[in-house]
């Protein structure tokens, strides 16, 4: 500490330790906020059409279309350490081969607390297809609204805000778009 240079060195070295402690404290403070808001998701009956797949020129693949209503007040998820929310709607179904599938069909990024009071209608943003070519004999699907809280400092946390009460059955394939 005898010269200017030594003092700069010493003080900033301790400052970096303090910054680390501060950041760790902020990250840990997120654990105090245990908001678990619940909303509602209502999914209309699906429609299935045969569509062209990009991968195989001559093969048709079933594509499901659906509309849904979302109401959820996710404001409680915004605390001082929340940067933004990533919301997504996930379809969960067991296909004819008995394999459990999860597919994201819609998503949204919420950047401010004001935007977080949701009440919207949407439809699947991403093509909803089975990995095989068809949804035939698949079990009825559940849909859930999930969120991913992105903090400024700390760990990402996941949660579920809504889930369909009654599973939605996959209808018969329609041959032509009405």
């Amino acid at each position: 500490m005898h010269t200017t240079y030594a003092r700069i060195n010493n003080v900033t070295a301790f400052l970096s330790s303090c910054t680390m402690v501060l950041l760790a404290a902020i990250a840990l403070s997120s654990l105090v906020f245990t908001a678990n808001p619940k909303g509602e998701i209502i999914v209309s009956p699906m429609q299935i059409y045969a569509g062209n797949t990009r991968r195989y020129m001559n093969k048709k693949q079933d594509v499901a279309f659906l509309n849904f209503n979302l109401t959820a007040d996710l404001k409680p998820l915004f605390n001082w350490n929340t940067k933004q929310l990533f919301l997504y709607v996930q379809a969960e179904y067991t296909n004819a081969q008995g394999i459990q599938n999860e597919a994201v069909i819609w998503d949204k990024i919420i950047r401010t607390k004001e935007e977080a009071d949701l009440s919207l209608t949407g439809r699947n943003k991403y093509l909803f297809r089975n990995l095989g070519s068809s949804f035939k004999n698949a079990q009825p699907a559940h849909f859930s609204l999930k969120y991913n809280v992105m903090p400024y400092v700390g760990l990402l946390t996941y949660g579920e805000a809504a889930r369909t009460g009654v599973p939605i059955p996959f209808p018969e394939k329609r041959s032509e778009v009405a």
């Binding site: 005898h2 010269t3 003080v11 910054t19 501060l22 404290a25 403070s29 605390n79």
Partner: protein, 90 residues
Amino acid sequence: MDALQQRITQAVEGKIDFEGQKRVDQIARISLIALTAISFLVGFVLQSLKATFVLFGIGTTVVLLITVPPWPLFNQHPIKWLSVREKGAK
């Protein structure tokens, strides 16, 4: 010319005495710990990370301004050397 050079070197080097060093160490340690705790609490109460980091930044600048330059306050206890012994004195 030599005198000027010496003064510049001294100003850049910024030496302080032993008591001053002890004091700087204490000031830096206590104020930085306090600053960390206070900026966390203020941010938590106001629910604003901005408040935390603005406060932390301002506080850091103040601490650096207090501790880094060789303020006269840190030079009030110069070392008293023993007087030079006369050559041949017994």
